[in-house]
Homo-oligomer: 328 residues x 2
């Protein structure tokens, strides 16, 4: 303890926490002693005393994905601005692990948790009723008893589809996971349909292409299948960029030219989209805005400055980035 060094026990605390009532000379003394002894606060002790850990948890399927790594980077940066650390939990998109993460923070490991669900379903809403701060980020569980930051699913999908229509597409594939799920697939589908309807285009079930999983490989495979099957289509709206990257690859394999024969648009505007060949048009959600909001909402809960019963639903902003894959 710097106490022995300087002169006081408690005063050290005051100095460390920049309390006003400390004489300049005393402060100087203490600081000097701290430097000399290489003193560092013991955060564990402070945590115990304060009942806070200064760390929030972030549960995502994996951090090794263009989208989630972007999200994680944004969240870490936002938390950093509030002097909060972020501890990452990789759930592997498993429902089990997601539920675990929810109860983990009950161990007071974290002051609160930001959960991006991928395995949990709408049926698990009740499980979100925990007695510690939680914010849900993303679209897998909605209307739960917690604050929620959502993607602009409907409007952005509508805008992306409209863009394809404006570029002359008439037979637009909707490429996604299961359309009846409450998730990116299910929530973006209505936007796609609305855009078709807005333009007076028919909705052909053959164009609704649903996949088990939605990463690059799946996109590439399905694109090749579609090309081989004789399905007629001149546009593809993919619910995420990974899928779209795969589609570009699959279409190339099938000898179909993008954007001349088929136009492709993705969702997320992930790093690298603009360097693909052709560069990928994509919906660009306001990731930083959403991450910042998620952290703000969580802090509100942690500091109990939010109504206990009222839960905020925040929908992020977006823009459509037009690149070569839809004709520049």
């Amino acid at each position: 303890m710097a106490k022995a060094a300087g002169v006081s026990p408690m005063t050290v605390s005051n100095v460390i926490n920049d309390h006003p009532n400390v004489r300049r000379s005393t402060r100087a003394n203490v600081l000097e002693a701290m430097a000399r002894l290489g003193y560092r606060v013991n955060v564990a002790a402070r945590n115990l005393s304060k009942g806070r850990t200064g760390t929030i948890g972030l549960a995502v399927p994996t951090v090794h994905s263009p989208y989630y790594s972007l999200l994680a980077a944004s969240i870490i940066a936002a938390a950093e601005r509030h002097s909060l650390r972020v501890s990452i939990e990789q759930t592997g998109a498993s429902r089990e692990n997601e539920l675990d993460a929810l109860s983990l923070s009950r161990n007071r490991l974290y002051d609160g948790l930001i959960l991006t669900a991928a395995g949990m379903g709408q049926a698990d809403v009740e499980r979100l009723k925990v007695d510690h701060p939680v914010v849900i980020l993303g679209d897998r569980v909605i209307g739960g008893p917690v604050d929620h930051v959502a993607m602009p699913n409907f409007e952005a999908s509508r805008a992306a589809t409209r863009h394809l229509i404006e570029r002359g597409c008439r037979r637009i594939v909707f490429l996604s996971g299961a359309v009846e799920e409450v998730d990116t697939s299910g929530l973006r589908f209505p936007g796609y349909q609305q855009a078709l309807e807005d333009a007076g285009l028919p909705s052909d079930p053959a164009l609704i292409q649903q996949l088990e999983r939605t990463d690059m490989r799946d996109g590439a495979e399905r694109a090749r299948e579609m090309a081989g099957s004789g399905l007629e289509f001149d546009g593809v709206f993919c619910v995420n960029d990974s899928l779209a990257m795969g589609v570009l690859r699959g279409l190339a394999d099938a000898g179909i030219r993008v954007p001349d024969e088929v136009k492709v648009i993705g969702f997320d505007n992930v790093a690298g989209s603009e360097f693909l060949i052709p560069s990928l048009s994509s919906v660009d959600p306001d990731h930083d805005g959403m991450a910042g909001r998620a952290v703000d909402l969580l802090i509100r809960r942690i500091e109990q400055t939010a109504p206990a019963t009222d839960h905020e639903e925040f929908v992020g902003d977006f823009s459509v980035v037009i690149r070569e894959s839809t004709g520049g």
Copy 2:
């Protein structure tokens, strides 16, 4: 406290920690009470008592990069296997922030730190002499007073270059950052040269292309410049995949066909490389192996089962993944 609930103060602790000396019935009692009261351990208190936090820090430039997100995912997974949590610090590749991260863990926020330096230089080796566990991952600072997990820079670069030579390349560009730095650029350059020498090929300074920064945009720009400048080359070895992705794009812009006219190979085998058009050949380092080793080394330090003075230098494994960009 569950004490009031059950019967004991300490016994609860024993139950929680699976100590052997607890009667079955007692254990059952306690567990029942814990469940009933919704009791959770207070980790802060445990930390204070044990002098451990159960969390390690990981400092990387940013997590939003194909490479670092892969690394982070591997580390989190490896730590998880040892029941350790990982808190991520984004340094933005700034030397300042990296040095900060080094002293942060002195605050006992973490039991130890894995640092991937990008801003610090060889001159900062001394700064690694801290009194808490640190493992350096990557190639920016070498031979320091700490354990070090390194990329197989020399051998892998040599293998990648040799592969280009075997595919018939004679004028191979080395595309990197500053070659005299101790980093991925500087450490991979000798491997490139060695491969040329092995094959009896001359080393032409005009082919050593050095950049300020090494991401996709830089790769694309430089590729266009090289194409426009009339520089003759038939192969490009890029020190990372981001650069290589940019190069593919830049060459396409210049109307140069890959792999027919120029072959390209990258380094890292990042997610998505195989779906590019053309798919990208790349050095595939054993990321998981390196991450696992880094965590193991750190744990050795945390548990003080390692020699205090002897520091391990571990070099990861690798393979060369051959794809279309070098002729399949």
